[in-house]
Amino acid sequence: MNYPVWDIPFAGSGWVIGIIAIFHVMISHFAVGGGFYLILAERKARREGREDWLDVIRTHSRFFLILTTVFGAISGVGIWFSIGLASPQSTSALIHNFVFGWAMEWCLFIVEIAAIIVYYATWDRIDAKTHMRIGWLYAGVSWCTLAIINGILTFMLTPGKAWLAVAGTGRESSEFWAAFFNPTYWPSLVLRTLTCFALAGVWALVTASRIDGFAKPELKSEVIRWSSQWLLPSFILIPGALAWYLYAVPESSRQLLQLGVGTIGSGLFTQVARAALVTTMSSATILAVVYFLAWKNPKDFGLGHALAVVFLALAATGATEHAREMIRKPFTIGQYMYSNGLRKSEIAHVNQAGFMTGSLWTSGDTGEAMFRGQCMNCHTVDGYRAMRQLLHGRDRAGISKLLGMLHDVPANSPYKNYMPPLVGTPAEITALGDYLGKLVGAAAVDPVVQGKALFEANACNACHGDGGSGGPLAPALVGVGTRLPGDKLADFLKKPSDKAAAGGMQAPKLSDDELKALMAYLNSLK
């Protein structure tokens, strides 16, 4: 834990990124698709000599300029701030690897912004041919910004074998292009490009819906219908592109997506499938609304209808991006860095040296620091994926068992596909258990009760009788604490005397904690 922790109560820091990013996706994809819309609409208008179309396109370009440059840029910077705070380790890894990617992105971005400002400012001021060239420049450059950021985004899900081979060696950037053109790069680029075109149509409907249908019924019908067509390629091709994408993601990610088809049981990860369902449904609704309200009845298509489509598109994009983020679990960078910022390669070392040794920013309670460092990236105390709710009803021993499973990651662990392994020394993990136990008010286990259960589970009562009352094969254990005081009882249980062994006494196979509990029970027999 090399960095301070960003504590967002209730929602969790992930949702701060999520909300900004979903907003950004809606606008940035429009910024790419909308560029093509503007220039193709302008070309159509000029070829057909439609002055009234040009007026609409000019209005749309102002809306486009303000929305994309102001809100697109603000939310883009917001993503940087929030990921830097929420996942500093991952952000650092990305910067180390992709600094030249971002340099390219930045250069293209400057050209993009300049081009759209010039495009808007030069309507009627320069000749049509030059104006359209600027439009084409904008469209081309803005698509290139997508092509670059797409490389970095897909890298996080599927970094690819070549890059993973050099990861952690200090020569990561030698595999820059392999990391960039990673296994999901192309399907994702196709998917996003199609989304850009669909969103260009959706946002264009907003402008078109404001044309006065009574004064200019012809114009309104034409623009609305032409804009509706922009959704068509996406709706036809996206299912295929999505299948290609899913083919390229790791098997474990696909499993995560399927988990929620059959059940709502296994914790909150079934919500990935449910998010995908929301995408399907809102997309189908967009298709129905655009067909029935925009295509069939363009003159009556109002701003309310258009905003409804925007809202549905927001639901579809939001749900899709959410599902995409979730299938990356338990990593932020596939097979390299876990969602809590720990590198896969450092797990063994941290288990030995302790999680707290590298944590320069914490003081005070180890358990709480463990929680903040390893759990809080995805969990909150009371809100989203709340610990109080998830651990509800578990006693302290149950929490220990869960933490043990998260630490050892046995093959049958239901958590291994979504949660990073819990790391730290046994003392640190006990401290975390104590902290969590206190958080949920877990009942401390009465060692005498636990010991009684162990006494029966290990069949001690078969010979010594229920409650240690004695039997034909073995003596009563009442008062055994006085006969074998202190460590003698423990020694005896670990290695029974020869006489007892000859009589059939076996050393019970118990952990240290369990042995303590059993002794507490035996000592209580009086």
Binding site: G262, T263, I264, G265, Q271, V278, S282, T285, A288, D300
Partner: protein, 370 residues
Amino acid sequence: MSSFPKSEASVDSGPMHGVYKWADERLGLTDLAAFAAHKQVPQHKHSFWYYWGGISLLCFIVQLLTGVLLLVYYRPGKEAYESVRQITYDVDFGWLVRSAHSWSANIMVFAVFVHMFSVFFMKAYKKPREFGWWTGLGLLGIVMIFGFSGYLLPMDELSYFATKVGLQLPSTLPGMGAVVNNIVRGGPSVGENTVQRFFALHVVVLPLLFMPLLGLHLALVQKHGNALPPGEAARPASERRSVPFFPNFFAMDLAMWLIALNVITILATLFPWDLGQPANALASAPVGIHPEWYFMSQFQLLKGMGLVLPGMMGEIVGMGLFTVVLIFWALMPLFDSETVAGKRGRIATWTGYLVVTGMLGLTIWGYAAL
């Protein structure tokens, strides 16, 4: 909606014409189309409330389809809980179907209540629509029994105890309480037999009662058309606007259905219905057992009466009060029958306000008192 083809015009020519003519002679399609086109839907500032009957109908269709799918896996009797557990946690999309069924049921009850109160305040129960009002009340009653009987079917802790509490009501009936209780429960306490009975009620008896009544209700609406609210009716005919039910209002109805369907699916997808622990008659009832929200006001009325009156008196008086209000409510078309607004009309309106306020107040009180 000018782009919608007129039903007759579209078949005037072309190869479909022959087919249409053939079918028309045998089925009377033109008459049906004329019947469908005959109804005009008034357009005014209260038109929004006309949609709620349609939303209720959509919910019923969703209930029918999801209900049939649930029937494929549900097993009443001993295995009731286990089969719902399988539906929720094992069967692909079983959770979705079950959640859609539950959410749609709740939205349906809500929509039917909104529909009833909007009809009431628009005074749409007056002549000649009395039977529309009575069939509607009948449908509401059946919907409530649908809800009550369906709630028990998963047989988890909550549904078990809520049903147990709910079934104590008939025991307040003078004289025959025990007998009625025995018949409904199929034994001295809620158990397998109760689930079996509720199942028969929920999937056979109630639909058999509901569907003909619904058919009559819809036919009456079609026959008499939508009522005008008093304020609108007072305006001269030349100032009133209306659209034909088919296809114009029907298309808007469909848009509403699309919205409602999205709401149901989003709720079912993002907030699926979980299943509690299996019902255990020997366990103590979980804290805060309470009926579903649509029974809360009645529940709280009885509870409230119990606070002021001793023993069973509270429940009996509460039941009596409820019955009297219900009868007055049902007979409202006969009481408030004048076509021009008068004293009785004002009494009816104030009764409506009282009932809405009373139900909301009792419901809030009920939840606050949990």
